[in-house]
């Protein structure tokens, strides 16, 4: 196995990858595999620096929920189909169930726990409460994380455009009319 300074390995099986790293550049890309076959990953979550040793097959969703106890992000389908697991990576909404946690090395992750300003709720959160944008609440953190991006999109104006922009977030309770109303209000504030 060839190893250059620009590469590193992690081995998901309990076998040491035995990689020697020679350059600080490599460490800047990501931490090396250690003896247990795990990969050290350093990233920021809601502004805080976190470091985890992870099996490469762990998704960002599982790392957030199981390792960092940030259970606000929900697991709906775990297949990229429902949007319940939506978080922001470097300020873009993405699906944490299809993101391998090792790939967020050095990045900024924002979850539902990180969008309020102390006790001051994010305008999108306030609007969801005011408009009853939920019933059971399971899809809500994903809806809000999506909506936080959508309210900033200048080309999303009409009701139909908002529905289209939000179509990756499924709500099995069918709270769509109230979610739409909440987003319209949040756009204006």
């Amino acid at each position: 196995m060839t190893t250059s300074r620009r590469q590193f390995f992690g081995r998901a099986a309990a076998v040491s990858a035995g990689v020697a790293l020679t350059s600080p550049l490599a460490e800047a890309i990501a931490a090396p595999a250690n003896d247990t076959g795990l990969v050290d990953v350093a990233f920021r979550v809601n502004g805080e620096r976190r470091r985890l040793s992870l099996d490469p097959c762990v998704t960002l969703l599982d790392a957030l929920r199981e390792r960092l106890q940030l259970t606000g992000t929900k697991k709906g389908c775990d297949r990229g189909q429902c949007g319940a697991c939506t978080v922001h990576v470097d300020d873009r909404r993405v699906l944490s169930c299809l993101t391998l946690a090792v790939t967020v090395q050095g990045k900024d992750v924002t979850t539902i726990e990180g969008i309020s300003d102390g006790d001051e709720l994010h305008p999108v959160q306030r609007a969801f409460i005011e408009h009853d944008g939920f019933q059971c609440g399971f899809c809500t953190s994903g809806q809000i994380m999506s909506a936080v991006e959508v309210v900033e999109e200048r080309e999303v104006r009409t009701d139909d455009q908002i529905r289209e922009a939000m179509s990756g977030n499924i709500c099995r309770c069918g709270a769509y009319p109230n979610i739409l109303a909440a987003i319209k209000q949040a756009r204006e504030s």
């Binding site: 060839t2 250059s4 620009r6 590469q7 590193f8 390995f9 992690g10 081995r11 998901a12 099986a13 990858a17 890309i29 990501a30 990969v39 490469p56 097959c57 998704t59 775990d78 297949r79 990229g80 949007g83 939506t86 873009r92 909404r93 993405v94 699906l95 299809l98 993101t99 391998l100 090792v102 790939t103 999506s146 991006e149 959508v150 529905r163 289209e164 922009a165 939000m166 179509s167 990756g168 977030n169």
Partner: protein, 325 residues
């Protein structure tokens, strides 16, 4: 998910050196990670290519060049793409969801598997996933399957929307391998299933898609991408049509047409294009020409509706692109 080595590379050469039989490149991960979770794909090494310099959207003499690692949402929103080939932007915006478009790359989009639900289910037979095991779709549920380019081995469609726009516009893909680079027309990049549906394209082991080059046709600004599906949004196409048409003094001078959702690969409609050239740009001409779209079609038990749906979609797309009403 099966155990795998995770590796990153920051140069194309390094990424290619890391590639070996059984390895997989990781871009946005939106289909690779999904298929790995299902045990449909079981690479023993995953090579993260996101740090490779395969980015950028540029207008060159040779055409519009789009780096393979550009994200679907960025390409869709790019002012040059919108100005030169609005059809590409439209096809992308009608694909997947906002979150998936933020994650997914153009290279990964073109490389998504030609597949069906049986392929995703490891407990069922599938000639593509397990060569020689049979194709349950031939006699099973096949409403979403292809009517063009099928074989007795496989009838799955290629699900990419933007690939349909690219094929209509005659785009090429630039490939990089250990022995250098080569350029292939996207239409020829994809293979028909024949008796080897497990081979979907001409990409060799350890080859990468570096960029897509789309010829600039000044008149192709008059274009559209029409996508017909079971629900309004966030769904794959039953049928889609990419159309660009050049009409002068009411006569069709030139036209580019391709269809999605109906073929085992993105389907360029050359016979329809030929039938249209020189014709008067009215609905009757479009409808007559659209007849040849389904020559050689092989409908299955549940998808015969696609033959008429395709013809009507072609007419509607042409009316829209030509601005005729």
């Amino acid at each position: 998910m099966r155990a795998f080595d995770y590796a990153t590379a920051s140069t194309v050469d390094d990424a290619l050196k890391l590639a070996r039989p059984g390895s997989a490149f990781l871009a946005g991960g939106t289909t690779l990670v999904d298929l790995m979770k299902l045990d449909v794909l079981t690479p023993d090494r995953v090579i993260d290519v996101n740090s490779l310099p395969l980015k950028g959207i540029r207008l060159h003499a040779g055409g519009l060049r789009i780096g393979a690692l550009e994200r679907m949402s960025d390409v869709a929103a790019h002012p040059v793409v919108r100005a030169v080939h609005p059809m590409i932007s439209k096809a992308l915006l009608l694909s997947a969801s906002g979150q998936l478009r933020n994650m997914a790359s153009i290279g990964g989009n073109l490389m998504q598997r030609t597949r069906c639900d049986y392929f995703r289910d490891v407990t069922s037979a599938c000639n593509k996933r397990r060569p020689g095991s049979g194709c349950p779709a031939l006699t099973g549920v096949n409403r979403g399957h292809a009517i063009l380019g099928t074989s007795d081995s496989c009838v799955a469609t290629h699900a990419s929307d933007v690939a349909v726009a690219f094929v209509a516009l005659g785009a090429q893909v630039v490939l990089r391998g250990k022995d250098g680079g080569r350029t292939v027309a996207l239409e020829d990049f994809y293979l028909l299933p024949g008796s080897t549906p497990d081979r979907e394209n001409v990409l060799g082991p350890g080859e990468l898609i570096a960029e897509v080059v789309v010829p600039v046709l000044p008149w192709a600004r008059h274009s559209t991408y029409l996508k017909i599906r079971d629900r309004q949004s966030y769904e794959f196409a039953l049928t889609s049509v990419a159309a660009a048409v050049d009409v002068k003094r009411g006569v069709v001078q030139d036209v580019r047409l391709a269809a999605g959702g109906v073929g085992t690969k993105p389907w360029r409609l050359r016979a329809v294009e030929e039938a249209l050239k020189g014709g008067v740009a009215v609905e009757r001409t479009f409808a007559d020409a659209a007849e040849s779209a389904v020559d050689g079609a092989r409908p299955l038990a549940h998808n015969a509706f696609k033959t008429s749906l395709l013809k009507r979609s072609i007419v509607r797309a042409l009316l829209d692109a030509a601005g005729v009403r």
